[in-house]
């Protein structure tokens, strides 16, 4: 048989195989949300009975991975002046290694000896099998107080200690009124108070956008059907229930973009500050406009990327030509917090910065290579996605609290402007402090930074 004929036969064989592969597919609930089989009361009773165990498991996991103690950085406060910033490396090391000895090893050696600190691998949801939106207690309480709307779940609670979440309520900075500074009056924006807080500051279009961003709509866990996790029939969730005051309260969710359930990674709510400068949106989806994201956040993220389930529970489809642009225009005037030490190109002003901060900038732009992706001149973004290939350092496929740790793949570069205000870090919130992020990138990029360089990088990031 000639070689070419053989190749042709092989290709034909591959075609046959592709057709035959349809024989034994996974059940539909591997992609679609199944309809509940038990009545609401029975599910609620079971969920409530499981809850203590569910919370203890996650607590045990957090304690295995992190040092959760209260160690604020002296003299550093978040932009609203309401919360200190936690310092120190909080990811725990495996026995017998130091950060220096670890960074001297090759990725293969770290993987083969199982030495990657557990805090570096993906962080599971409190209850991976159910997933869905989980709000921190401060948000739940304040929404309850102002609106009498219930966003508490009966099956799970928020898992991270308060000290590792953003200040609450976060300050609001407007690109249209830089002279005013924080315009939140120390309050959480809700459908009840937004008008009196914002009249005279916003245009009519922005005001209508804001109203829509604060209007609750049904969602996967908060709706009126039996398939929900709130004890009462819920009015639903608003955009700013997660993006509190257009920043974030660290509410978390599972990515809508992946199936099956065990492979869906956790998502920490991102800040909407500086959205005007971002060209791509979502850690994986790379949607090209705030308008697209706004529309799809309700269409899919609210419902886990399942438009079929959304249809049953009461999807809200904002009008693309009228409502969506207003919601987008409102989001587009939210500014980063002021960074008085930065010049217009995003570089430190030497007359204002300390020696350590300036040294940190040197490392950031030089040995640390951070500036290659976090470009100072464009809000520390490059509008690209990057694959950091963390899986070089660990064996993929391990299950931790129901989440299968798989390669992260390409993830959007996140901005570093105002970064001290938005713990926890990375798309899933797996890192608790900026010092953790420095150790993470030191390893992932093979930088071999000295302790002095690491400390200066943290000091530098606190100025952004």
């Amino acid at each position: 048989m000639s070689k070419r004929l053989r190749v042709a036969l092989l290709l034909a064989g591959a075609g046959l195989l592709a057709v035959a592969a349809l024989a034994d597919p996974l059940p539909p609930d591997a992609t679609y949300r199944p309809l509940p089989t038990l009545p609401f009361d029975a599910v609620k009773a079971l969920d409530e009975a499981q809850k203590p165990q569910v919370m203890q498991r996650q607590q045990a996991l957090l304690e295995q991975r992190y040092d959760l103690s209260n160690r604020p950085i002296a003299n550093v406060i978040m932009s609203g002046g309401r919360k200190p910033v936690q310092g120190g490396v909080r990811v725990k090391l495996p026995a017998g290694v130091t950060w220096d000895s670890l960074s001297a090893m090759s990725p293969d050696e770290i993987r083969e000896r199982g030495l990657l600190p557990a805090g570096f691998i993906p962080l599971p949801h409190v209850k991976q099998a159910t997933g869905g939106q989980v709000f921190p207690n401060q948000q739940i309480d304040e929404v309850g107080r102002q609106e009498l709307r219930n966003i508490r779940r009966f099956d799970v609670d928020f898992d991270l200690p308060d000290r590792f979440t953003p200040e609450f309520p976060p300050p609001i900075f407007l690109t249209t009124h830089p002279e005013l500074g924080d315009v939140s009056h120390g309050q959480l924006l809700t459908i009840k108070n937004y008008y009196q807080l914002m009249v005279g500051l916003l245009t009519p279009v922005q005001m209508e956008g804001l109203r829509l961003l604060l209007t609750p709509f049904p969602q996967e866990e908060f709706n009126q059907t039996e398939d929900r996790k709130s004890s009462d029939q819920s009015l639903g969730v608003t955009c700013l229930d997660c993006h509190a005051n257009f920043h974030t309260n660290a509410a978390f969710h599972l990515t809508p973009d992946v199936r099956p359930q065990a492979a869906r990674f956790r998502l920490d709510t991102v800040s909407l500050r500086g959205m005007f400068n971002q060209q791509i949106h979502g850690s994986k989806r790379s949607l090209r406009s705030v308008e697209d994201f706004t529309q799809f956040e309700q269409r899919t993220a609210y419902f886990n990327g399942d438009h079929v389930s959304a249809q049953r529970k009461g999807v809200n489809l904002p009008d693309r030509f009228d409502q969506v642009p207003m919601m987008a225009q409102m989001q587009n005037i939210i500014d980063f917090p002021p960074a008085p030490k930065l010049n217009p190109l995003g570089r430190l002003d030497p007359s204002k910065a300390t020696q350590q901060e300036l040294a940190g900038e040197q490392v950031f732009l030089g040995k640390g290579q951070c500036g290659q992706c976090h470009t100072p001149q464009t809000s520390f973004l490059d509008n690209n996605m990057h694959d950091l290939k963390l899986e070089r350092f660990y064996n993929i496929g391990q299950t931790v609290n129901g989440l299968v740790a798989l390669p992260d793949g390409s993830i959007k570069t996140l901005t570093l402007r105002g970064i001290k205000d938005s713990p926890p870090y990375l798309h899933d919130g797996r890192l608790l402090t900026l010092a953790d992020t420095v150790e993470f990138f030191n390893l992932v990029l093979g930088l071999k930074l000295t302790q002095e360089e690491k400390d200066s990088l943290v000091a530098y990031m606190l100025t952004l």
Binding site: G13, A21, V54
Partner: protein, 213 residues
């Protein structure tokens, strides 16, 4: 002791000790979403079906996983005889060993849980077997390895499905245990396929290579 009682007590011994189902250790199987259990399911812990209580995800998993496991061993034996490449032969040996062990463990769990495992490969596997029987030499190696890539991709998705949607703690534990191995098999098969493709390319005379562009 009558045979049923003997079997039942064996089943209990093999099954999740309540400690496993209830564990607060994050490495143990995580609780499922109780929303998907059939009404009337007896439970050993809240949301955890008792032994011999059937539920859809676990049934679907057992069936697909045991059929695939049997096929893997069959294909492995065939390849251990017929494969011409050394890497392919070694891979086949490894499939016989790893999938054989996993099959034994899974069948025991299935029986203890009162779920009948599959006793034969599925239609797709049968078609694959015919293809393998009809091919030889490099063509056999290619067909076997391509089939293995797809089979392991499917197995990885199936195991993840059970980890997320399954309710039987022992089965979920099994799935978590074997998933890393299945993913490493997948990487091995992909590496072998790439090597074979490079070899084929190297064998094509340079003149032909140009024309094929």
């Amino acid at each position: 002791m009558n045979r049923f009682v003997a079997f039942a007590s064996l089943a209990v011994a093999l099954l999740a000790p309540p400690a496993l189902a209830q564990s607060t250790n994050p490495a143990s199987p995580a609780p499922g979403n109780p929303g998907g259990m059939p009404p009337g399911t007896k439970q050993s812990a809240p949301g955890v079906p008792a032994p011999r209580q059937t539920n859809q995800p676990d049934l679907a998993f057992i069936h697909a996983a045991t059929a695939s496991g049997i096929a893997e061993v069959e294909f492995g034996k065939l390849a251990a005889q017929k494969a011409s490449g050394r890497a392919v032969k070694e891979f086949a040996q490894r499939m016989i060993r790893d999938h054989g062990a996993a099959n034994d463990r899974l069948s025991a769990l299935a029986k203890a849980g009162g779920i009948a495992p599959a006793d034969r490969p599925n239609e797709e596997h049968k078609a694959m077997r015919v293809r393998l029987e009809q091919s030889d030499g490099a063509q056999f190696d290619h067909a076997y390895i391509q089939g293995q890539i797809i089979e392991h991709q499917k197995a990885a998705q199936l195991l993840q499905y059970e980890i997320g949607s399954g309710e039987n703690a022992e089965l979920k534990n099994f799935a978590s245990d074997v998933l890393p191995t299945v993913l490493s098999h997948l990487r091995m098969a992909q590496a072998i396929a790439m090597e074979m493709a490079q070899q084929r390319q190297a064998e094509v005379p340079p003149g032909d290579r140009e024309k094929r562009k």
